[in-house]
Amino acid sequence: MTKNSLILHCAILVSGIVAPLLFPGLVFQFAMLWIMILFALTWDVLGGQMGYNSLGNILFFGFGMYICAITQIGMFYDVGKYTAAFGAIKVDFTDQQYYLGLALGLVFAALASVVVAAVLSWVLFGLRGPYFAIGTLGAALAAAELTGSWNYVGGGGGISMPVFPGEPGARSLFFYSLCMLLTIVCYLFLRWLYQTRFGMALNAIRDDEDKAEAMGLHTNRYKMMAWSISAFFLGIVGGLFGNMTGFIEPMEVAYPTLTFGIFMVAMTLLGGKGTLWGPIIGAVLFHVLKEVTWTYLLGWQYVALGLLIIVNVVYFQQGIMGWMQEKWPERFGLVVDRAPGGAAPEDAQ
């Protein structure tokens, strides 16, 4: 790690710790920022590094959220009765029950998401290019529809999550630190992963899958593992997000294909796919822009989002990182971390 990149990493870490203490009112927004970065990072494993553009990664987010909720509630109560009452019966979780349920819930969410990714990858990775994108989109839409019509988990009415035992301020800080920790772990893991033989294999699949297979790579195994890695992190963050919002339901919170699901793609493309820092820059820029302008657009937000995607894809496909690499290639060489713009958006909060 060079000196500059060390300074950059430390600056981000410090601002990540200091920001919620300086602006206690915005902690939820900061937590969302970390979640958005995680979304973009995990999408880029497939979309950028492996060349498989998934439109349905949100599936693992929602799945993890539901598994976590079911674990948290099911350990102490009957889930069917709990959801049938729609929060009308007052159920209390002791501190110990809450934390134990949350911890186990997150573990199960991660494991179950990995299992789903493994099963789905058997089904969907036979598809290539646009078929894969459409197939994953279909899988995410189907998951939302099926969850919505499954009464055991509350159907379209959703589930009220167990209430955090501490004060509201402590609650947001608690989930903020978990989101930050998870995103940092994910970043470090991917950073290491992309330098290993595994990362090379992913790039080989992106460049030419048939040749990679002919060279003796078990492409299916690599594809399955790459998707499982995405699913692992997305499942955990799904469980966290469900607890952060306090209420989950299938269409808008758990499987929001047209919001979070498409944000992942938009953020990564904006920042530049296939790079380590591109998704991070894209996510920070997108989230800050979105939060600042969203309320002034008077209902036209999603039109603007769609236009952003079109303009991004049609006119600015390389993204910010790609553009910078084209403009100052000598500054990058092989080390992408030294991106001069990398720290700027982070400090801008």
């Binding site: 036979g126 994108a133 189907a142 769609g306 995607i309 079109i310």
Partner: protein, 300 residues
């Protein structure tokens, strides 16, 4: 769920009702799927905004019908308007993504779908609407099976339109140019076909076809800004299962899909109708994968 199934076995006449409804609605699916296959085959752009074109056509017809025009007559102005809309979209977006990698065009049309459905939501409102065509309802089998006249008319209209399109593709100069471009764009260019014009025409024609389908949908079923994605998925299911350039296959699949939806809606409950369409998409893709796998094993 089982009760509903037993009704079907005990009273076979309900099967007639479901099949009839499915086939009559399926004809409209066939139009949208044919448009998708046309654009897919010629320009290699997979239009994820297909269903939103259908909805836009329906809303245009609905708005025109407010001014005293019979909804059925609005088919003609809507087709013209949608043709113009398709041309604008082609010039602004599609023409720039045709030569790029496939995911680019897919994502661009996905963005287009978001823009269209959200704009329609803001302009026309989120309510579910139906255009009143004012035709009678017929009763068959002593009133056990009902069928509205407008569904019959729309079915016939779909058939006529399909026939006209087939004749157009076979006979007209432009139709020949389109088929030549679909076979080999480069060779067509060498032979003096203006492929850029062919692409623009094909995409606009697709928009016009979708517009007609939308007007029919507005009369025989419902319009809602966010229902577009279901039509896109249906069109993909049909085209993926039938294969490109297989018009009889598209028609059979579309009518079959209509019937399957009606059956699943009846047996499993209405809330599963949407899930069935999406589930079928995944199934069709898996089936394709299994076919490909066999193909791959044959190579080994």
């Amino acid at each position: 769920m089982l009760d509903n199934f037993q009704i079907l076995v005990a009273a076979p006449v309900f099967n007639v009702q479901l099949l009839l409804n499915g086939v009559l609605v399926g004809a409209v699916f066939a139009l949208a799927a044919y448009g998708l296959a046309l654009v897919w085959g010629v320009t290699n752009v997979k239009n994820l905004a297909q269903g939103d074109f259908v909805m836009l056509g329906g809303y245009l017809g609905y708005e025109l019908a407010k001014h005293g025009i019979h909804p059925l007559v609005t088919v003609i102005p809507v087709a013209v308007l949608m043709y113009a809309f398709g041309w604008i979209v082609y010039k602004l977006v599609i023409s720039r993504v045709i030569q790029r990698e496939l995911f680019t065009s897919l994502l661009a049309t996905f963005g287009l779908a978001i823009v269209m459905q959200q704009s329609m939501n803001l302009i026309f409102g989120p309510e579910v609407r139906t255009a009143e065509s004012g035709f009678n309802t017929r009763e068959l089998f002593d009133g056990l099976v009902t069928v509205t006249d407008i569904r019959m008319i729309s079915f016939v209209l779909c058939g006529v339109l399909a026939l006209v399109l087939v004749l157009f593709m076979k006979r007209s100069r432009m139709g020949q140019a389109i088929r030549a471009t679909a076979q080999d764009a480069r060779a067509a260019r060498v032979m003096g076909v203006d492929t850029e014009r062919v692409y623009a025409f094909t995409f606009s024609l697709n928009a016009a076809i979708c517009g007609v389908a939308g007007v029919l949908i507005s009369m025989i079923w419902v319009l809602q800004p966010f229902y577009g994605i279901a039509y896109s998925v249906r069109a993909f299911v049909i085209v993926t299962a039938a294969g490109l350039g297989n018009l009889p296959g598209v028609i059979v699949m579309a009518l079959g899909l209509g019937a399957i939806e009606q059956y699943s809606g009846f047996v499993l409950g209405a809330q599963f109708q949407q899930a069935t369409v999406v589930g079928l998409l995944v199934l069709v893709l898996v089936w394709r994968r299994l076919l490909l796998q066999r193909h791959r094993q044959a190579l080994q």
